[in-house]
């Protein structure tokens, strides 16, 4: 029996977020009552955030393999081969709950955590992205949350020195009490110099690196696994405080000792801190681990074993070093002014043993700690799917021009310049396409290769039909990468949902994951890393199902990438893909008619692929001068965006007779793009389209200073720009 001066009561168990049957599982596993520190460890390892206990069974259905996948899910980040001996390392992760409670630090440490995941694997981060969902603009907290989250993302990334190159920002009342902050980091490494978490060798020194351990963030992962209520703000002390300066030093020090071949295994201390990093290194390497907490660098005096094991202080790492390189590694860490302490060793025992003040505080089976976490097949129901709405039954606007003027200034469609100008998006000197396009393009080293990066999801589609919504999120990500000319390679998914103990929420989760799996298979677009965030509810109200998809594509020559801005007057404007005028769940329906109804547009994955491949070929052989994916707001919003990005207008033919005008211009049919080609190339492009069985139609010509539909009021491009650029700064300044 281990010494235990605290009696483990049912109340204490409940406070640790463990259900009675889960506690029984612990008793069965270790054959005795756990110590308080052990109870804390189980709580940290078996919560939803760390154990994926509700989601694991469904995540197994996701495709994770392809010839170019070097490392799929299960490590700190996913790794893909991008050719020339280089690997792209990337992952997206949520920091939703902390960001709602303390927006600046919550968002900042979200960025810090995901950057650490990437450089832990030996990669230098080259880009960050994000996907942000806020409550309705009129909600009293929204402005404060937007301001804090954006400043926090910028504050961390700018100081660390990574460009934040793309992202998405949306507003909806369903996020009023539970915003989403999903951060993605992308790094570059050599394919033969990737570092993993699995320890090897008995008696190897385990080294603690980075910042000191404090009392911040204790039970952060448990907080992230519970619903919010009106008292959630009292949880502020569980939010960690970020120090991007320390992280920058940690990055440089880690990459330096990795280059010197000192490292056997490395794991960052993220959720559940020292506990999960130490046990993962041991368990993955089939080794035991003994830690001596007296050696852990602490920021505060008198910290207990419980506190040290559960602290989520930021900017810390655990490494297993080659014993003969310990001195060399220590010198590098001292040079960078970072803490370095040997805090334990690997053992043959398969036990996780923690000592403090000469006493054994923890003695647990290391494998089972992770592997025996509960796994649930939670009941789920699929809610009845709304029927498609006939476009003819949806009221037309006063005029198409009026509707466009309104739409470009709506919170979801307006320019997000106010946001991304607070992010350093050019540091590194490799940002080819800056924020505001379909996907960012970042040069790889000195080129000519480039990476295309984007984050996407359409939550209102997922709500109406989780399966189609899941498919659409992946398809849109694939389309955005394609629209800049890149070949999509792989995704990271960040699955944000409500309380999985409710069958209808579990139904959304299962539906979306199945949709994601189907699209990933059809598009050869495997999932290589990800994160699940459940319990995104406040007082029983769940968020919209939001499976954010972060995608990476590669383009052999970044100079060939396409952007959405019109390039020249007098070029032909072509639509690739079929337009039927699908208004169900469209932005038009929501913003102009105040209705969130109907079935979302279905996604035909074969058509996606064919149309996408056609567009990519037009871009790469230089036939297309501009390209843009069609998504929220449909055809006319996309055309307006192309005009606003260039200052060049467009003369457009009237809508065809068989589709109501508003459905034609604002419908959100999938698998579509706009491309421009020189007028003299139209016939050739059309012939290529026929040969590829891709539907292409000419809808107008670039030119003039207005977006002008035949027979409609023309809209001057500067006026559109003013509307699009005006909303967010005005809102943030308190003008409604």
């Amino acid at each position: 029996m281990l010494a235990n001066d605290v009696k483990i009561t049912p109340e204490l168990v409940a406070e640790h977020g463990l259900k009675p049957d889960e506690y029984q599982r612990i008793l069965d596993l270790i054959g005795r009552e756990p110590t308080l520190t052990e109870l804390g460890i189980f709580s940290a390892m078996w919560n939803e955030h760390c154990s994926y206990k509700s989601s694991k069974v469904h995540l197994r259905g996701l495709p994770t393999k392809a010839p170019w996948v070097i490392q799929g899910p299960g490590e700190n980040a996913g790794v893909i081969d991008i050719g020339d001996g280089l690997a792209c390392v990337f992952k997206m992760e949520s920091h939703n709950h902390p960001s709602y409670i303390e927006p600046y630090q919550g968002a900042a440490t979200g960025v810090g955590g995901i950057l650490r995941d990437v450089f832990t694997m030996g990669a230098r981060p080259i880009a960050c992205l994000n996907a942000l969902s806020f409550g309705a603009p009129e909600h009293p907290k929204t402005r404060h949350l937007v301001s804090g989250v954006v400043a926090g993302i910028g504050g961390y990334g700018n100081s660390f020195g990574v460009p934040t190159v793309a992202g998405s920002v949306r507003f909806h009342k369903r996020y009023d009490g539970n915003i989403l902050v999903n951060a993605m980091a992308v790094g570059l490494a050599e394919t033969d110099k990737i570092f993993y978490a699995a320890a090897s060798g008995v008696g190897m020194p385990i080294v603690y690196l980075g910042s000191k351990t404090g009392r911040d963030g204790i039970h952060g992962a448990s907080m992230a696994s519970a619903e919010f209520d009106d008292n959630s703000e009292e949880k502020r002390p569980t939010v960690q405080v970020g120090d991007p300066f320390s992280e920058k030093l940690l990055l440089e020090a880690c990459l330096e000792i990795m280059a010197k071949d000192c490292v056997i295994a490395i794991q960052d201390m993220g959720a559940a801190g020292l506990t999960s990093s130490a046990t993962e290194m041991g368990a993955k390497g089939n080794l035991g681990v003994t830690l001596d907490l007296d050696k852990v660098p602490c920021r505060e005096e008198g910290m207990s074993a419980y506190e040290m094991m559960l602290s989520e202080s930021q900017e810390r790492m655990l490494m297993v070093l080659k014993p003969d390189k310990e001195k060399e590694a220590e010198a590098i860490f001292r040079k960078w002014g970072l803490d370095f302490a040997v805090v334990g060793e690997t053992t043959p025992s398969m036990r996780f043993i923690v000592k403090h003040h000469g006493q054994v505080m923890v003695d647990l089976p290391i494998k089972e700690l992770g592997d025996s976490a509960p796994e649930y097949k939670r009941p789920f129901v699929s809610l009845e799917k709304p029927a498609p709405i006939d476009a003819g039954a949806i009221e037309p606007p006063g005029s198409i021009a009026d509707a466009l003027e309104r739409l470009v200034a709506t919170p979801d469609l307006c320019s997000k310049r106010w946001v991304w100008e607070q992010y350093d998006h050019i540091i590194g000197g490799n940002t080819v396409q800056r924020p505001g396009g379909d996907a960012a393009v970042v040069r790889v080293l000195d080129g000519p290769k480039g990476l295309a990066l984007t984050t996407d999801v359409t939550p209102r589609y997922c709500e109406a039909n989780p399966f189609e919504g899941g498919k659409q999120a992946v398809a849109e990500c694939w389309r955005n990468l394609t629209a800049v000319g890149a070949t999509p390679l792989a995704i990271t998914d960040n699955l944000n949902f409500g309380n999985p103990e409710r069958p209808e929420i579990m139904g959304q989760f299962v539906g979306c994951v199945r949709g994601i799996a189907e699209a990933c298979k059809a598009l050869d677009f495997p999932v290589v890393s990800g994160n699940v965030s459940l319990y995104n509810e406040t007082n029983g109200k769940a968020i919209l199902p939001t499976p954010s998809i972060g995608g990476v594509g590669v383009i052999a020559d970044f100079k060939k990438s396409a952007s959405l801005a019109f390039k020249k007057e007098g070029e032909a404007i072509l639509v690739v893909g079929e337009t039927t005028g699908w208004l169900g769940q469209s932005i038009y329906l929501r913003e102009i008619c105040a209705r969130e109804e109907g079935a979302p547009p279905p996604v035909d994955l074969i058509e996606e692929r064919e149309n996408g491949e056609f567009v990519r070929s037009l871009i790469l052989d230089g036939a297309a001068t501009a390209a843009h994916d069609l998504s929220d707001g449909g055809l006319l919003v996309a055309l307006a965006e192309m005009a606003m990005a260039s200052g060049i207008g467009a003369k457009l033919d009237a809508a065809p007779d068989d589709i109501p005008g508003h459905a034609y211009w604002f419908g959100e049919d999938q698998a579509r793009y706009i491309v421009t080609v020189p007028a003299q190339a139209v016939e050739l492009v059309m012939a290529r389209a026929r040969k590829a069985s891709v539907l292409v139609s000419r809808i107008g010509t670039t030119g003039g200073a207005a977006v002008a539909i035949d027979g409609q009021r023309a809209l001057a491009v500067p006026d559109l720009n003013e509307r699009s650029e005006g909303w967010l700064p005005g809102y943030m300044a308190g003008r409604d």
């Binding site: 400043a151 020195g161 991007p244 320390s246 607070q422 590194g428 080819v432």
Partner: protein
């Protein structure tokens, strides 16, 4: 050109600067760690790059300004050596007494990353000989604290001596508050010391030296420097 790029903990644009120096001069610069007491022999240009030295803790540039290497830089500058400070580098040069004034928080209290237009006030300095006087160039900024201020006497002296080298302006070269993104006094974007051999500027010319990555408007500064140093050699 034998450039030395200083590296302080938390500096993060030293790689951008090194690449630009290599691209424009054909020569790899020396990276000099902050604890050094001497510059590499033969150094003819010291560059203090951008970033967040010491996390911007205490005050931007305040801790870096007190590093051992800065004593060597002061000595180098006193002997007429050319020193270029960009962004955090400008802040460090102000904090170390090599340039007058301070950089306060941007007027709107937010970090700003965007392309801005600069009017090149003079072309008769080693830093701007690659430009024409009055030329307008487009280069990016990325800072939270770039709002230049100094006491009235200092400003009068800077203006009187023609030591304001770059000013924020509109695309047509007009000085206009709408194009002064950080609220700097007299739209000051870059100044030199009274010897004319130490330049501090907030914008990042090193990020605009390639046509496919932004523009080449920043190239003139480095090409001009390379030429000036070749002449001097």
């Amino acid at each position: 050109m034998k450039a030395a790029v200083l590296v302080f903990p938390g500096i993060n644009r030293e790689r951008d600067m090194a690449r630009t120096l290599r691209l424009t001069s054909g020569r790899e610069p020396a990276m000099v760690w902050h604890t050094e007491h001497d510059l590499p022999a033969g150094t003819d240009l010291v560059v203090v790059p951008g970033g967040f030295s010491y996390g911007d803790y205490l005050r931007c540039g305040a801790i870096a300004a007190r590093s051992p290497v800065m004593d060597a830089v002061r000595k180098f500058a006193a002997g007429g050596g050319l020193v270029l400070g960009v962004c955090n580098g400008f802040q460090i040069l102000c904090e170390s007494g090599l340039l007058p004034g301070v950089l306060m928080r941007n007027e709107n209290l937010r970090f700003i990353c965007r392309d801005v237009f600069l009017k090149v006030e003079r072309s008769d300095t080693p830093f701007t000989r690659g430009y024409n006087a009055g030329q307008v160039v487009r280069v990016p900024v990325a800072h939270g604290e770039g709002n230049y201020i100094a006491d009235g006497e200092t400003i009068a002296r800077l203006e009187g001596d023609g030591r304001v080298i770059f000013r924020y302006c509109g695309p047509d070269g007009m000085i206009d508050p709408d194009w002064n993104h950080n609220g700097a006094l007299n739209a000051i974007a870059g100044i030199v010391n009274d010897g004319g051999n130490v330049l501090g500027m907030m914008p990042h010319p090193e990020n605009h030296v390639e046509a496919d990555i932004g523009s080449t408007d920043g190239r003139g500064l480095f090409a001009g420097l390379a030429e000036a140093l070749k002449k001097a050699a």
